[in-house]
């Protein structure tokens, strides 16, 4: 069966994975989506898009019903929240995706690791000094949040640079604490 719809190709990436889809318009608030695999191409499925208020959208994806909240941080980047999960996902057209992929591949050489506060809280202990070398997994900073002390460990082995954290200091989630240069 030939499909006369005009499809455009997009690459969605979440976590370490990516999926390629062809997307075309369907009836009123629906779309046709074909998942493009390396060997075969799936049959198109119909995806309907119906806002139901409170910032939520009711989707029918093939036979499945999903209610999602979609937040958009840039035109290509979304956080899709379904069933209590927030899933960050990025979708680009094929050309942009390929360019990004090449850029990522060339820049993938091991650079410094940013140590970020995993939660908002108060720094109660800084266990390292500027310039000190640390082993991977070594406790570096202790943050107290919601009455629990949490040891933040070094994600890689390296040297501490740009130490911004001091004991007693309040930090927001994802605040930069220091960098570890391998």
């Amino acid at each position: 069966m030939t499909d006369s719809r005009k499809y455009q190709r997009f690459v969605s990436r979440f976590g370490e994975e990516q999926r390629t889809f062809d997307v075309a318009s369907g009836e009123s608030s629906s779309f046709w989506v074909k998942r493009i695999e390396t060997e075969t191409t799936d049959e198109p499925i119909e995806v309907s898009w119906n806002p139901i208020g409170h910032g939520r959208v009711l989707f029918r994806i093939g036979g499945r019903v999903r209610i999602a909240r979609i937040a958009q941080s840039t035109p290509q980047e979304f956080i899709v929240e379904m069933d209590g999960r927030q899933i960050p996902v990025r979708a680009d057209d094929e050309i942009t995706a390929r360019a990004l992929h090449q850029k990522a591949a060339s820049g993938a050489a091991s650079g410094p690791a940013k140590l970020l506060a995993p939660m908002p809280g108060t720094i109660v202990n800084v266990l390292i000094d500027e310039g000190e070398s640390v082993a991977k997994g070594q406790p570096v900073i202790v943050i107290e949040a919601m009455k629990m002390q949490n040891e933040i460990t070094a994600p890689i082995a390296g040297t501490i640079h740009g130490l911004k954290a001091g004991a007693g200091q309040a930090v927001e989630a994802r605040a930069l604490l220091c960098e570890i240069v391998p």
Partner: protein
């Protein structure tokens, strides 16, 4: 119900427990007085109470732990009684003393009883005197780590470092060997000093394959006490309970009686009155060992209420009002089984990291045998300043299996949007074969749980589709640059929200 509006109860707490206490007090006909921090001005407990008064800024130490201000509110609002709930001042003898000095009555024990049990070292001594079996442990430890190392050698690893004034699972650390012991000593001591205002610590042998089984007791002010059965609270992470159930599947009736009688004996020995919980560890042979006595209403009290039919908050109020217990031990007759899942704002896949932020939407489970005690409302923030436990889901069944399947059904209904919760983790635990078989012990999560077990590839696949469609829609320009919900006030959808509450990222539901 006889109205007792001259009984004016100030609830020195927040969250789900404040609402729970207000409801019990209202059922007793008492007048209720809430307190709130700046962050809680529109919190559920504030809306439920007959009156509510501000006590300070969001951080707990400036509001819910601001003793002077709370006593001032108690005076100004002409409170006659104070219920401390759990956490905050619930086990603080100085607060209790000041309540008494102000001519108010605490819904709880005397300052002396709290002192006796709040100091875990003194509690061990009292338990020993009441012939309650004890886990091997050390006296309070001096600053020199070598003393702790020596005791640990004698007791045998693994050991637990405990804050003498800790509680609620806070201020404890497990050490498998001497290296871990050395590194954890100062951390635990520091945490103890900051959290409990006293940095005394000691060590105890850790029983790894043990179950946590606790006895609920009620004692009146006339020397009578009863036990209301047990609760098993073995499913824990970082020594904090996540799931509680009653009855405990392996507890022999004879052991239950022995533990219950020991618990009541210990309480009466120290002149205790009101509600308390005596915690035990049950080793693999089914032998109980005393852990500690909690001199307050426990988080997990609802499961006891579900099987006994006794409202523990109302019982507390009546005891504080001087009434004798209306039941003898023989009349306490638990029926069926109950389970509680603590609903916590945390990411179980990322090491149980606490989560905060606005709740956009929530759908709470309902139906037969389901009870929900919650402290959050859609549209309100879950604040970084307070406990990340935002609710408790409780189910009852004729037997454990009925309570368990009902819990799974209820968890499937439970949806919180905006803030990640542990609902999916609870679903994992309740459907684990070892949980179903009743093979629960305190290291259950450490031994069985891996974060990837909560992966939802089905949701990720659909999110990928949704993102591709969203970008396509944007490209097609079907609705201008981006049909954000924030700008579509002329939308044909009458349900479309006028303004997105999502701060960091823009919410998008337009057409």
């Amino acid at each position: 119900m006889i109205e007792k509006k001259n009984h004016r109860l100030l609830i020195a707490n927040r969250g789900e427990i404040a609402s729970r206490i207000i409801r019990g007090a209202k059922d007793e006909g008492w007048h209720t007085i809430a307190i709130y921090s700046d962050a809680d001005a529109s919190a559920p407990h504030v809306l439920l109470a007959d009156e509510a008064h501000p006590v300070g800024p969001a951080p707990a130490h400036q509001s819910y732990l601001n003793m002077d201000r709370i006593l001032e509110v108690a005076r100004e609002s002409r409170a006659t009684h104070v219920h401390p709930g759990y956490g905050f001042f619930s086990e603080n003898p100085d607060f209790v003393q000041r309540i008494a000095d102000a001519g108010l009555k605490l819904i709880g024990p005397s300052a002396d009883a709290i002192r006796a049990m709040g100091d875990k070292v003194a509690a061990r001594n009292a338990a020993e005197a009441a012939k309650v079996p004890l886990v091997p442990g050390s006296p309070p430890l001096p600053a020199d780590p070598e003393v702790a190392v020596d005791y640990a050698e004698k007791i045998g690893y693994p050991v637990l470092i405990k804050a003498a004034f800790g509680g609620g699972g806070k201020g404890m650390r497990l050490c498998k060997d001497v290296t871990e012991l050395r590194s954890a000593l100062s951390l635990t001591r520091g945490e103890a000093g900051r959290s409990f205002g006293n940095d005394t610590i000691f060590i105890e042998r850790a029983l790894l394959k043990a179950r946590h089984v606790e006895i609920q007791i009620l004692c009146d002010e006339h020397g009578n006490g009863v036990y209301l059965g047990e609760r098993e609270c073995s499913i824990q992470r970082r020594h904090q309970k996540l799931i509680e159930e009653t009855p405990c599947v392996v507890l022999a009736p004879e052991t239950r009686r022995k533990m219950g009688e020991a618990a009541v004996r210990l309480a009466l020995d120290i002149g205790y009155h009101n509600a308390a919980t005596v915690e035990f560890l049950l080793d693999e042979k089914g032998e109980p060992y005393f852990l500690e006595m909690n001199t307050r209403l426990q988080v997990e009290h609802p499961i006891t209420e579900m099987v006994t039919g006794i409202d523990l908050v109302r019982a507390q109020l009546r005891i504080a009002d001087g009434e004798p217990l209306p039941w003898t031990q023989d009349e306490i007759d638990p029926k069926g089984a109950a389970i509680e899942c603590r609903i916590i704002a945390e990411d179980a896949m990322a090491g149980f990291v606490p989560q905060s932020g606005p709740v956009h939407y929530a759908r709470l489970p309902q139906g037969p045998g389901v009870r929900n005690d919650v402290g959050f409302l859609p549209g309100r923030e879950i604040s970084v300043h307070y406990d990340s436990m935002i609710g408790k889901l409780i189910t009852w069944g004729n037997d454990r299996e009925e309570a368990r399947t009902r819990m799974l059904r209820a968890l499937d209904e439970y949806l919180v949007e905006g803030v990640r919760t542990n609902v999916d983790f609870q679903r994992w635990a309740l459907s684990h074969p070892e949980f179903i078989a009743g093979n629960t012990y305190t290291r259950f999560i450490d031994d069985h749980f891996r974060p990837e077990m909560l992966a939802r590839p089905d949701l990720e696949e659909d999110a990928a589709i949704i993102a591709a469609v969203a970008t396509y829609r944007h490209r097609m320009g079907s609705s201008g640059p981006i049909a954000m919900s924030g700008t579509n006030s002329q939308s044909s959808d009458p349900n479309a929200p006028r303004r997105s509450p999502w701060k960091r990222a823009r919410s998008w539901s337009g057409r």
